[in-house]
Amino acid sequence: MSDIGYVRAADQGSALALVAEDPDAVFLAGGTTELDLALKDQVVHPSRFVDIGRLPLRGVTRDGDRLRVAALTTMEELAADPTVRDRLPFVREALLLGASTQLRNMATIGGNLLQRTRCRYFRDPEVGACNKREPGSGCAAIKGVARMHAILGAGPTCIALHASDLCVPLVAMDAEVELLDADGTRTVPLTQFYRTPGDRPDVENVLRHGELVTHVQVPLLPAGARSGYLKVRDRTSYEFATTSAGAAITVEDGTITWARLGLGGVGTVPWRAWEAESVLVGAPANERTFRAAAEAAIRDPFTVPGTAFKVELAKRTIVRILRTVTS
């Protein structure tokens, strides 16, 4: 039996030190992913949890046209924030379409960014071939039951999906992550925070060991922009997205003057559809443009038989959300 230590950090400094001094120690926030992985599934093996749940990293502040969200703010708290409701409505929609009320009351924003994939091959220790757990061991999912898996940023080493809803509008809005360790603070754009699997599917982001996500900064929608988040799934609630899209658009005289598009349910990382945005800006807000944007967004997908349907579904999801926010 492997014992896992637990210590509650008294303050930020000791939290950083307690993780930094032990290469196998991890931060524990809401616990909605980490405890499953370590205790139930036993696919990660931390030496100890450093509980940061009581650190004063909670709350939402507004600084001009930016929102600064402390990492321990819960999903429900962020969804209830008046500025989010008025100026980032698609962030609120994405939050409330995620998980369940019970989980949203526990899960933190920092934890949401760092959630691990739901791939059942990753989460079952009886499966030997998982490059994400053990680089070089192979990928059983590619030849297996793949449905809730990625088609963008995926490759023969790994097709595990980043399943966050929240991150879809966040990458679309150029959110930034504030990171802290003993050396100080750095700020990383969320679009550069994640790493596609490549030859190291086990390395999912640029976070260093012992580095703590303290805040997420989100620019507010510009005046006149409209946004929306669409989540497509078989079960009406409490299911991860089969595909999703978050769009924010400004239309002037029938022409799109500003556009942001993020995709969920399709990427190994929260997916920013840059190419689609290029198609949209300057084009008329019509079906033809939307379809062209969708085609541009889903270019060169990596599919397996179980995920092939997502190519067309993702495109239709994009068209639908663009139609919705421009109508």
Partner: protein, 709 residues
């Protein structure tokens, strides 16, 4: 309170469950709630390949691990006797029989330690090597061994090929249904304890009397020395109808250690340890005249079965009795695969058959232009189509008509794709359902005491359907006492033997046995010279008796063989309205009307709960649920509640549930079982509604969004 006059209108009343307060207060003991003095904890060792042989087992690291008391595998465990076939036709390949691996997750050993955590940790330390073989996992795999008509369920009347050839209109469709997991909330548990030569087992079973027999044979102890206790079960939906290897292994470990041993399955283990609805493929061919009158019905079904297993999959059993048709043929096959053992799941066979037949009838309605409801009425079986005898009760016509009225079917535009609502195409579909009569013998002990209380005892259990409550209601009415004065002792094989809670057979058999006992009691009371209006208390007092106890018995199936009516099961009709977002493929049920003929309803509230549960499960079957096996390893690839999707509240619209019909004329209490009928017509009604919405006929369940793109 009289000894001779029955109390009226207790049966049928929607009273609260008499065990409800205990359940919501957490005071009802489910199997996992039992802890015995000196008890230790078990964990299972499961195969990580789907086919082959075990070539090496090294238990040494596990045996040396903290707290470990024993590790049992096939090469060191005491031999057991093979279990007998039970009344459901189910047998089992006994665990630890040899080195063969027949499916992924097969229980190949058990570890017992002082704590559950120690047992789980040690189970991972057992080193096992396999000579792995390529598993056969798919119904279509040509390597699969296929048996033809293994249970003699194939049947034939008339001349189907000639009738098909001569038909004005024909339909020929192939329908597939994915494997489904029963998914009860309660984790299956065994707590086994040997007390001298006597075995006491708390076990999650729907069939305590069968389990007692099986354990008595396997462990070579007299039946009377085995006691199975299951007062509260925690849901089964058929999963508790078979003998499972975890029960046997826990009992074995308890005997080896001579200590009480407890095992609670994990949720992932539930997906491969307690059965599932087998994947199936059916072909239905219909022949009809231009008015939609059936002239031929050919029904061929193949279902998956575990390797080396022997479970009946009665898909075609109900077919000959569904509709009036002179020429009917059924064919049954099963394919043996390296999958976890299949089991029974709510309305086994009947629900699969109805998806195929009721979908095919919808196709026939489409071809002939006859309204789907009218089509079913034109082919209504006024008498039992096989025996020609009148039904003991049948209100399917009322189900169809009342359902149509409540749903507003008359206003429906028959053309597919005729109704839009925003982004959705709206469709309406319906289906009928016929359920087979089924019963096994049942015995009860009924006693009245000097305080005017009655006690009913039987081994059968309550799987959450309301057996406690209807037992009390029936007894109260027949004895003329209040429900509060009836004590119900069930789920204990030290009580008289009863059938399983399954096949919608327990309520009818139990009610008939109670009635038989009440009659016996009345005779005894008459012999005691009871005065009109005299209470039990007074009568017993006068004779110096503490209590009066009688035995009641029913054998409805036996009586059926010489009955001049055809005993009927329940009937139903379902009407569904769906919205299909065609661009995104998403199907949602907007409205659902379910009308059920369950004969005399024993409790309107618990009956309604059964109908609701069946409808919800039917929505899952239609739109969400499918067990996925990894095509390489045979491992269940979605064995969690995050990955195997059952309906949530938002998937279920307001349900309109109605009961129709008259008391059944064959069952002396007028009741018919209704635990399963509620699911039978739901999936075809939804699939037919999807066709009406979109013009697309999906013959493959579940109808997930990828199939709609």
């Amino acid at each position: 309170m009289t000894a001779t006059l029955a109390k009226e209108n207790v049966i049928g009343r929607p009273i609260d469950r008499i065990d409800g307060r205990r359940k919501v207060a957490g005071a009802a003991p489910y199997p996992s709630d039992f802890d015995l003095p000196g008890q230790v904890h078990a964990a299972l060792i499961s195969s990580t390949v789907a086919a082959g042989r075990i070539t090496r087992i090294d238990r040494s690291r596990a045996e040396a691990a903290p707290g470990v008391l024993t590790v049992l595998t096939h090469d060191n465990a005491p031999a057991l006797v093979d279990p007998p076939q039970n009344a459901l036709g189910s047998t089992m390949r006994r665990p630890l029989r040899d080195d063969r691996i027949l499916h992924y997750g097969q229980h190949i050993g058990i570890v017992v330690a002082n704590t559950r955590a120690e047992a789980l940790a040690a189970a991972k330390l057992v080193e096992i090597e396999y000579a792995e073989e390529d598993p056969v996992l798919d119904l279509d795999d040509p390597r699969a061994a296929v048996e033809d008509n293994p249970f003699g369920m194939a049947s034939s009347r008339g001349d189907v090929p000639a009738a098909l050839a001569a038909a004005d209109v024909t339909v020929d469709g192939t329908y597939t249904i994915g494997a489904e997991a029963n998914s009860p909330m309660g984790l299956f548990t065994t707590v086994a304890s040997w007390q001298g030569g006597r075995l006491v087992v708390h076990d999650t079973t729907q069939a305590p009397s069968f389990l007692r027999i099986a354990l008595s044979v396997m462990f070579e102890v007299p039946e009377e020395n085995v006691r199975v206790l299951i007062p509260f079960l925690g849901g089964g939906f058929g999963a508790g109808l078979r003998l499972w290897s975890h029960t046997v292994l826990t009992t074995l470990a308890a005997r080896v250690l001579d200590r009480p041993v407890k095992l609670v399955l994990s949720r992932p283990q539930m997906f491969h340890s307690v059965g599932h609805r087998a994947a199936s493929r059916q072909r239905v061919q219909l022949g009809a005249d231009r008015d939609g009158r059936l002239t031929a019905l050919d029904h061929d079904a193949i279902a998956a079965n575990g390797m080396g297993d022997n479970l009946p999959s009665p898909i075609v059993a109900v077919t000959p009795a569904t509709y009036a048709c002179a020429n009917v043929a059924t064919h049954e096959r099963r394919a043996h695969l390296n999958i976890p053992y299949t089991g029974f799941m709510r309305a086994p066979g009947a629900v699969e058959a109805h998806f195929a037949i009721e979908s095919a009838l919808d196709e026939l309605a489409d071809q002939t232009g006859v309204d789907p409801v009218e089509l079913r009425l034109r082919n209504y079986a006024e008498v039992h189509p096989e025996s020609g005898k009148p039904w003991s009760s049948k209100a399917l016509r009322e189900c169809l008509e009342v359902g149509a009225q409540r749903f507003g079917w008359a206003g429906r535009d028959p053309a597919p794709r005729s109704t839009h609502d925003g982004d959705q195409l709206v469709g309406q579909g319906m289906a009928g359902a016929s359920f087979e009569f089924y019963a096994l013998p049942c015995t009860v002990r009924l006693a009245v005491d000097r305080r005017g209380n009655a006690t009913v005892r039987t081994a059968g259990t309550d799987i959450g359907t309301g057996t406690y409550t209807i037992t009390a209601q029936i007894t109260a009415e027949l004895l003329g006492i209040d429900v509060e004065n009836v004590r119900v002792v069930i789920g204990d094989t030290d009580q008289p033997p009863a059938p399983q809670s399954g096949g919608s057979g327990l309520a009818g058999a139990l009610a008939a046995a109670i009635q038989n006992a009440a009659g016996e009691l009345a005779e005894q009371l008459a012999r005691l010279d009871g005065r009109p209006g005299e209470s039990f208390a007074s009568l017993l007092d006068r004779h110096g008796l503490d209590e009066l106890a009688v035995t009641g018995y029913s054998d409805l199936a036996g009586a059926a063989t010489h009955s001049d009516v055809a005993p009927a099961g329940a009937f139903a009709a379902a009407y569904a309205e769906v919205g299909v977002d065609e661009e995104l493929g998403v199907v949602r049920v907007r409205r659902l009307v379910s009308v059920i003929d369950g004969g005399r309803v024993f409790n309107a509230k618990t009956a309604r709960s059964q109908a609701i549960g069946g409808a919800v499960m039917g929505i899952g079957m239609a739109l969400l649920e499918e067990l996925a096996y990894d095509p390489n390893s045979g491992r269940v690839a979605n064995g969690t509640f995050g990955d195997y999707l059952v309906p949530v509240n938002l998937d279920v619209p307001d349900l309109d549930i109605t009961f129709v019909g008259e008391p059944d004329t064959f069952n002396p209490t007028g009741g018919k079982g209704l635990g399963e009928i509620g699911i039978v017509s739901i999936a075809p009604a939804i699939a037919n509604a999807v066709h009406h919405a979109t013009g697309r006929r999906i013959r493959d369940l579940p109808i997930t969004l990828d199939k709609m793109l």
